[in-house]
Amino acid sequence: MKFEEIMDRLRKVNEELQVETIPLERAMQLYEEGVKLSKQADEILSKAETRIKKLGD
């Protein structure tokens, strides 16, 4: 998944968790997904280092 897609999904997970009446199972599922997404995003970010190169190099 691309970073922006991960962010979109994180927003949705957070939004669904705000609903007080969701079953516990679902809450735990969302939580696990949130943690995974957060890790994925961190991985992408940690690999990104600012590099400036010339076109064609």
Binding site: E4, L10, I22, M28, Y31, A41, K54
Partner: protein, 392 residues
């Protein structure tokens, strides 16, 4: 000969002026004097020997660039001579007006701006949104220019990103085509493109006012920020691009600040998810406590405990949440009332709020209560009671 009325003579003068090709669509050079803005803009143009009354009607004012005028400035005004019969005077109805001295280039700039505007190249609906977190950035500018150095400084201090520079001539013969070629080479390969250069005179910046470059910016599928340091109001690429910045540095800051906002949002989301999950576990646990069936309680409570342990485990993995106390996390959730709600409920319970249950189900609205027995669960125990009257 029958004498004419004054009105008849006025009308004849008016018609003569209106039908004279020599007095229609003319450009007049002169110095502005007696300028007043009364909705319509009134002034006169003068030279050594004569004075000509001029007016820019309110309905035209929007398309005249040089308003408000200043007495003493030399301008070229385009328009037609007309007469208002009432006082038999004549004036220049001005449709366009540019400060003199900017000369031919300025006129070309104004004309191209009008042309491209009519074609819809500046239309908001044609603009592509600037990505909030561009991992790959393209820059079209001179690799020897100060603009690139200025931008590099900002980007090196910001979040990590892959930057590709397409070297281009940004001044002089062939520069518009050179920048256009850079855009085409980067289009589709990066998430965002910045084109630009440092400030200069209208002549220095001319590449960014050329039609071929304007069309290349418009045709580019990748979002573009135009970042040209300039003295005049704007260059044409500012208007065609998806976003504009007043200098290359400002463009870099715009991008980096946007990325920083996304990183902050990510932290807030991760914290909020941990807090909300914790809230769900806590509220389910309280619901279980209230069910007076010890076997079920045992089974379910152990399940919740398991899930809670899992949750705690994951929470530890969550870099941002692990070191924070819940209270600390909560403070950071200024993101919204929604996120605060679950924690608010437990806080209320701390203060003595009770949860009401009937037949093992939690009742959150009076309208769902039935007459008969109920249980109220507080922080440290529960009471049994009976519903006698219900008022909604």
């Amino acid at each position: 000969m029958e004498p004419l009325t004054v009105t008849e003579v006025s009308g004849m003068v008016k018609d003569t002026l209106r039908s004279s090709p020599k007095l229609n669509d003319i450009a007049v050079r002169g110095e502005v004097t007696g300028y007043t803005d009364r909705g319509h803009h009134y002034f006169s143009l003068k030279d050594e020997n004569s004075v000509l009354k001029c007016v820019i009607w309110k309905s035209n004012a929007g398309s005249v660039d040089c308003l408000p005028l200043t007495d003493g400035t030399k301008v070229v005004a385009w328009g037609s001579i007309s007469s208002w019969g009432g006082n038999s005077s004549y004036q220049l109805d001005v449709r366009k007006c540019t400060p003199e001295g900017r000369g031919e280039l300025y006129r070309q700039y104004i004309e191209l701006k009008e042309k491209l505007f009519k074609e819809g190249l500046f239309a908001p609906e044609a603009k592509v949104p600037i990505p909030a977190y561009p991992m790959k950035l393209g820059i079209v500018t001179s690799e020897k220019g100060a603009a690139l150095q200025d931008m590099a400084k900002v980007f090196m201090a910001g979040p990590g990103m892959d930057i590709t520079v397409a070297d281009a001539r940004v001044q002089g013969e062939g520069s518009a085509d050179s920048v256009a070629a850079g855009i085409m080479a980067l289009d589709g390969k990066v998430d965002l493109i910045i084109i630009g250069r440092g400030g200069g005179s209208l002549e220095d910046l001319w590449a960014f006012n050329e039609e071929s470059l304007a069309r290349a910016v418009f045709a580019c599928g990748t979002p573009i920020i135009s970042a040209v340091g300039h003295e005049i109001d704007e260059v044409i690429t500012d208007l065609v691009a998806d976003a504009r910045a007043s200098t290359p540095t400002a463009a870099a800051e715009l991008v980096v600040k946007g990325m920083q906002r996304v990183l902050d949002e990510k932290k807030t989301l991760a914290d909020s998810i941990a807090v909300m999950a914790e809230g769900h576990v806590a509220s389910h646990r309280q619901a279980l406590d209230a069910i007076d069936m010890s076997m079920w309680r045992k089974v379910l409570a152990s399940r919740v405990d398991n899930q809670r342990t899992t949750a705690a485990g994951f929470k530890a993995e969550l870099g941002h949440a692990s070191s924070l106390h819940m209270a600390n996390s909560r403070k950071r959730l200024d993101a919204g009332d929604m996120a605060l709600r679950a924690t608010w409920i437990s806080a209320l319970r701390e203060k003595g709020m009770a949860a009401i249950y009937q037949s093992g189900a939690r009742i959150t609205e009076v309208s769902r209560l039935k007459k008969g027995g109920f249980e109220a669960v507080m922080k440290d125990g529960k009471v049994k009671g009976e519903v006698k009257d219900i008022e909604v």
